[in-house]
Subunit: 481 residues, 2 copies
Amino acid sequence: MTEKPLSGMDPEEFRKLGKEVVDWIADYLKNAEKYPVFSQVKPGDIKKQLPIAPPTSPERTENILADFNRIILPGITHWNHPGFLAYFANSASAPGILAEMLATALNVNGMLWRTSPSATELEEVVTDWYRQMLGLPVEFQGVIIDTASVSTLVALTAAREAVHKQVREQGLSGRTDLPRLRLYCTEHTHSSIEKAAIVLGIGQEGVRKILSDAEYRMKPELLSAAIEEDRKNGWLPFATVATVGTTSSTSIDPVPAIADICQKEKIWLHVDGAYGGAAAIIPEMRYVLNGCDRADSFVTNPHKWLFAPMDCSVLFTRHVGILKQAFSLVPEYLRTTDGTVNNYMDWGVQLGRRFRSLKLWFIIRSFGVEGLTSLLREHCRLAREFASWVDADKNFERIAPVPFSVVCFRYHPNEISDETKLEKFNAQIIERINATGELFLSHTKLNGRYTIRIAIGNIATTEKHIKRLWELLKAEADKLE
Amino acid sequence: MTEKPLSGMDPEEFRKLGKEVVDWIADYLKNAEKYPVFSQVKPGDIKKQLPIAPPTSPERTENILADFNRIILPGITHWNHPGFLAYFANSASAPGILAEMLATALNVNGMLWRTSPSATELEEVVTDWYRQMLGLPVEFQGVIIDTASVSTLVALTAAREAVHKQVREQGLSGRTDLPRLRLYCTEHTHSSIEKAAIVLGIGQEGVRKILSDAEYRMKPELLSAAIEEDRKNGWLPFATVATVGTTSSTSIDPVPAIADICQKEKIWLHVDGAYGGAAAIIPEMRYVLNGCDRADSFVTNPHKWLFAPMDCSVLFTRHVGILKQAFSLVPEYLRTTDGTVNNYMDWGVQLGRRFRSLKLWFIIRSFGVEGLTSLLREHCRLAREFASWVDADKNFERIAPVPFSVVCFRYHPNEISDETKLEKFNAQIIERINATGELFLSHTKLNGRYTIRIAIGNIATTEKHIKRLWELLKAEADKLE
């Protein structure tokens, strides 16, 4: 054993090392671009540098930090880099990082009101601030969950509880009194909905994918027809998931028409606005949430496009009672005499709950609603500008409208019509640009067409980056053979 | 708008404020005891100090930090305080905080290998380090999940998949070919198991609670009998959840005998060692995991008793293939050509995955296995010492054995035998001690008896704190009328 204190680190040592880490982070926020955004290591490269057994004796923290720089960093794909344009780009903003530092040190578990009244009450306040920013109705109450995958699972558990009496008590299996459950979405709905259906015992066959129109939006008339057909065939329709900003193309399902159908059919409407929802804070884009005021539940992730460090997903619902009916379980050791306080553990799956409202509070106050609005507006402007370059170039083709900050396009000169060849070329372009380390792109497929997809969402991404992308795209396209 | 940069904060401003926050945290780690451990505010006290609408313009971060101190802190119940003895006491240790600072700034989403090879490969390495520390067999592979609630849900989804063919595809509802599913645990098993059963569509009736012995441990002969009876009555037994360190009393279910039964009956054995599992790193306590080498899945939470900041739960399983069979869903936009790499998104519910392995790496290296062992051994010693004081005092009664660092006891002088009166007195003692702000206790009920329960698990808790607790307990008991 060395002379380390039993507590692992003296507070004064933490003070010194913590400030070195802050210096590292400040430099990183300033110069993330000095790192290749997409890690260039090969499988196993990191692992082979790490001991296969844990150290018996304490090690100096300086050595761990040195290994972080030497071993870990080369294997990082830099999500917090302005050249990150893949998936949904996100950001750990400086105010968000400060809040996380404090939340980590306090290490609050906000399961019960009494286990930190501030955690519960701040969560009530900031989710309501966010509700107002999004223009959602006052009946919507919010809870912060780790990810949209779990938020959706929670919402659909409530939807199942609402339609199927006694599922909580009796379950689903082996019951002859229950018809099979069906939920509706499209092929563009996020995979987490299908995953939730698997977990909930609805099964993949219980997820019916409604055809989309040419712009990847659910066709509401087909939803109506599907529900009618399913009822005839003995299914019990119980939920529809509409999306505001689908993952592939950021299309917006026609929520008002879908809400009409759900209301008429008395089925739960869950809206997935994990990425796109945030755009509704921009006054001139408020329309993206048209109809969402009539949803039963709505999820949007501040860790996607509101500059909150991972993880932070807000689930809104007008049916807190049903959530609690599905989830509340209070063993003796968690029973309190606090009266009618809000114990967020009753709202979902997880008992352990980090103090996530703190970062949302820091971010909304630090940027102000106007500051956040300006950033999102600028991301959308950059996307439209990039799309205009694509549209003006005969060798490139846009594959989807650009309602938010994502552009779907491909290299497609007139002389090539073979889809296999186009896929190969576009995959090559992505691979080569990713190999530069300057920018990181990902792909999707839309109507069978291999598509390059850029998502502008990192807080430090500017016009410079999309200009550079356009240069590289044209240069790599020219080199194709 | 003020002159704030669009990015919310200039890196140099972050450098300055970040260091102030580090100073705050260092002081906090040194002097957490200057705060009342149990928040003394009343419901609504925090909320009424917060504006009901979000700020339009950016605010100075200094003001937010000042409000954190002025408004938020009084409403914090200090989990990271050495006087925290409620629930399962935990710790955000200094090395863990440093790691979280870096992980937050990098903001990695470790969903795919390529979205940060270091996140995936470090997770493989540190979960294997931990497996070795616990003495679990090499077939066990680990994944870091946020909470034991979700880890258990994942494990039981896999168990359901293993027994019921085509549940993933066809679901459970409306199928006449499926018998009802049953899983087995005891009344002392954590509520998250019942919650998982609700979500999975097994229902509360699908959870059969096997009677425990006088020391709160499952009676294996009753488990056998229950399975046999259920099979006769048309149920399909599919899983047993055994616990190493139950929440109320930290009892240890007889895992070797339960494993025999599960093996014979071909049903999934999940072991919940969320708290107690960590103790197996102490060589002389390795026995607490006897039989767990034969489990199908095993969960233990480094954020409980291994000094990791929330959240960090490790799920081990020998059946990664079944987990993937249950959960893997790869939409086009997440498809890669990386070959046979490990994409952790396939192992569970969540797509978004924080870089949680970093804190486990910092902690294991910074303390060393010996350092962690010494801390846990000391916590157990303190608990035994406290228990010896209880045992020696005729006015107090111990209610459960002390296999780990939790002591269950109550005030129970000879002259009082009325349970209602005992409950009232013991509840009063807890309330009065909690009101001092020096120490924070919680309660449970064991065989109908209201029980004071202390959990020694915070890294800074020492003999001084339990001596003070004993003083206060006796003083408060003397004041009862």
